[in-house]
């Protein structure tokens, strides 16, 4: 059994806005094991992106990390609390240990510089290369690894000369350039078309195998979860609803939210006469409902759900849920 590379304990990220304190992530705990693909799935504003950014303290004001721990296993096997590190060390960790790939590849690349320059810049910052020539060679190698067509040409191209899929390949290549151990992909395919999405997902899968990476995927698409992940965490309104192996989550969803979500997603391989929508709307996190945040939309809501927040309970092996339905009474 591999060890966790990241342990998140009771993470809290609050945004202090004019509309009040938005508890975007409010006491979330999970761990990511070495070599697995871990997915955080949830809807807009559930805190999945914020969680992934908080792992290296990439939170801008008015947001603040209000509490919790993020333990990261460094190369010597010790766990260090990321949230206690200074900005200098964190910068060193970002890229070298943990790399990010964001949703919009166009925004991740500076239009004024060539693709090759982007590689050189990141590698020079982390002392991975000694000269620009070495940087270009490494860049071509990396572009070949991410299956970029004609890497020797593309390395000299500017971002606007590349298509959406090629940009995302370049961004992935840049992310890999300092040999990180954890790759965080935040909705890496939601700007891409179906045919290109399939190519990029396939690429991520291959890279993970080849390099022994740990992959953290942030997505809203249950289809991507089913295709990619080993374990899944379902977030709802800043709370962790359910966490477990992907097969169990889909076969035996425990949390009423997960159950409802799976029923609301159309399956392209089946003829469906009626979808079952989840009633109501995602709550406003400046004034979230008390107790379990899903209770206003939950068909099984009980009195206690309105008053107390449920604790995480292990219902079957490695499959935990935060729901009063499963509490021992």
């Amino acid at each position: 059994m591999p060890e966790p590379i990241v342990i998140v304990e009771d993470l809290k990220v609050y945004f202090y806005t004019y509309a009040g304190v938005v508890r975007a992530v409010d006491g979330v705990s999970f761990e990511i094991y070495e070599g697995e693909t871990f997915c955080i799935v949830g809807e807009t504003g559930c805190g999945k992106s914020v969680t992934s950014r908080a792992l290296t303290k990439l939170i801008d004001p008015p947001g603040r990390i209000a509490g919790g721990k993020v333990l990261f296993k460094d190369r010597s096997g010790r766990y260090i609390n990321m949230l206690e590190l200074d900005e200098e060390t964190l910068r060193e960790m970002r890229g070298k240990e943990i790399a990010y790939i964001f949703q919009d590849p166009a925004a991740a690349l500076d239009p004024l510089y060539t693709i090759g320059y982007h590689f050189i810049e990141t590698m020079r910052d982390h002392g991975t290369i000694r000269s620009n020539k070495e940087g270009i060679e490494r860049a071509i190698e990396l572009l070949r690894e991410v299956a970029m067509p004609a890497p020797e040409v593309r390395v000299k191209n500017y971002p606007h000369e590349l298509s959406g899929g090629m940009k995302q390949r370049a961004v992935i290549g840049i992310g890999l350039s300092n040999m990180p151990r954890l790759l965080i992909a935040d909705e890496p395919t939601s700007y891409l078309d179906v045919s290109v999405q399939a190519q990029i997902l396939e690429l991520l899968r291959q890279l993970k195998e080849k390099r022994g990476l740990t992959l953290l995927m942030i997505t809203h698409d249950m289809g991507v979860v089913a295709e990619m992940c080993d374990r899944v965490a379902v977030l709802y309104a800043g709370h962790l609803a359910e966490i477990g192996p992907v097969d169990r989550i889909f076969m035996n969803p425990l949390h009423p939210y997960t159950q409802a979500l799976l029923r609301a997603v159309p399956n392209p391989t089946r003829r469906m006469l009626k979808l079952e929508p989840i009633p109501g709307n995602v709550p406003n996190l400046a004034s979230p409902p008390p107790g379990c945040r899903f209770h206003p939309r939950c068909p099984y809501a009980m009195d206690i759900c309105k008053r107390e927040r449920p604790k995480m309970i292990e219902v079957e092996e490695r499959h935990r849920v935060a729901c009063w339905l499963y509490a021992k009474r």
Partner: protein, 358 residues
């Protein structure tokens, strides 16, 4: 939300508006509750911006003094201690604090404080006459150019470019010297114009003729002020035109005029207001600069003219004739700029969201 001492004042202000409007129309509150709530949040955001508050106080102070300055001034703008007391030695370039002259006197023994208070009125009137006209021309031309595009856009923007290519200050200077005599002639020949001008600028009717250069500056500024707004509004119109709700309005069969005035204009008013606020300082500055360059009318308590006139006596050690009018200009301009900057953050929902409330 953590409280702020000024929040209660804001709440009181908002409920005052609500009460007044409810008296006018009982259904108003129900229909505008959410708008009111947004105003309250904007005020809260302003409360958390110390520079914005300082700017607001300075800007409102400028407006207040502009309106009431002539009434609270200890003396009239042309009052001379020398003429009144005959003590030439004491009141010729008297330093601040000399026998009743709080900010000192100039070479004619006139009270500098009173002059500055009267001068605020002139600056305020200039702002109030230059901006609305310049902006109206700019907004209409910018809307037309941005919305219709093509040949209309080409025609309007090329004219705008010609105006922008001219150095504004020099153009205004040339126009001012060309217009001054005509305006003075018009004032001299129209008794009603004389009384109107003297009332607006809080001057004695006998001095109405001397305000002609300032009026010329106003007319000149109309001509140089609109191109900036035309270009700005055109850009904002293009941006708004890309919004899907404009296409939705087209799909509903709305006319272009309706779309321009009901959908585009209201949506650019926010940024336009910010730009206007920042521009008030510019107008004050440019007008003071022009009247300085024009040599300054010695009989008119116009800030730029006071600086110009006073600068001749720096060799006599009369620093107050430079420092105090300069300070008046600085504070008025700074106030509007600070307020405009805060307004930008508050009116834009995106930046408002990034203000930290702690």
């Amino acid at each position: 939300m953590p409280g702020h001492p000024l929040d209660r004042l804001s709440d009181a202000f908002i409920s005052l508006i609500a009460r007044v409007m409810t008296r006018v129309n009982p259904k108003w509150l129900e229909r505008n509750r959410y708008k009111l709530e947004e105003w309250r949040l904007m005020l809260y955001a302003l409360n958390r911006s110390p520079t914005g508050i300082a700017g607001l106080i300075l800007a409102m102070g400028f407006v207040f003094i502009g309106i009431f300055g002539p009434y609270i001034a200890p003396h009239s703008y042309d009052f001379s201690y020398i003429a009144a007391t005959g003590k030439y030695k004491l009141y010729w370039l008297a330093p601040p604090g000399t026998g009743g002259a709080i900010l000192g006197t100039d070479d004619l023994g006139r009270d500098l404080l009173s002059q500055l208070l009267y001068g605020a009125r002139i600056s305020l009137v200039v702002v109030a006459l230059v901006l609305p006209v310049g902006i109206s021309i700019g907004v209409i031309l910018g809307l037309l150019a941005g919305y219709y595009g093509g040949a209309v856009d080409e025609a309007i923007m090329r004219v705008t470019d010609i105006f922008l290519a001219f150095p504004g200050l020099i153009l205004a200077l040339a126009l001012t010297s060309a217009l001054t005599m005509r305006i003075a002639y018009a004032i001299a020949n129209n008794p009603w114009l004389t009384s109107f001008v003297s009332a607006v600028f809080a001057l004695k009717p006998s001095d109405a003729l001397n305000i002609a250069p300032t009026l010329a500056i106003i007319v000149a500024l109309w001509l140089v002020w609109w191109p900036g707004y035309a270009r700005l509004v055109r850009g904002m119109t293009l941006q708004q035109k890309g919004n899907v709700f404009v296409m939705a309005a087209q799909a509903l069969g709305m006319s272009s005029r309706e779309i321009m005035f009901k959908h585009i204009l209201p949506n650019i008013l926010g940024p336009l207001l910010v730009f206007m606020t920042l521009d008030v300082g510019n107008v004050i500055l440019v007008e003071a600069g022009l009247s300085f360059l024009m040599g300054g009318q010695i009989k008119i308590p116009e800030w730029g003219a006071i600086v110009q006139h006073g600068s001749q006596y720096l060799v006599n050690g009369a620093w107050w004739l430079l420092i105090f009018p300069g300070l008046a200009i600085l504070l008025a301009v700074l106030g509007w700029n600070l307020f405009g900057d805060a307004l930008r953050d508050i009116l834009d929902p995106r930046t408002r969201r990034s203000i930290e409330f702690r």
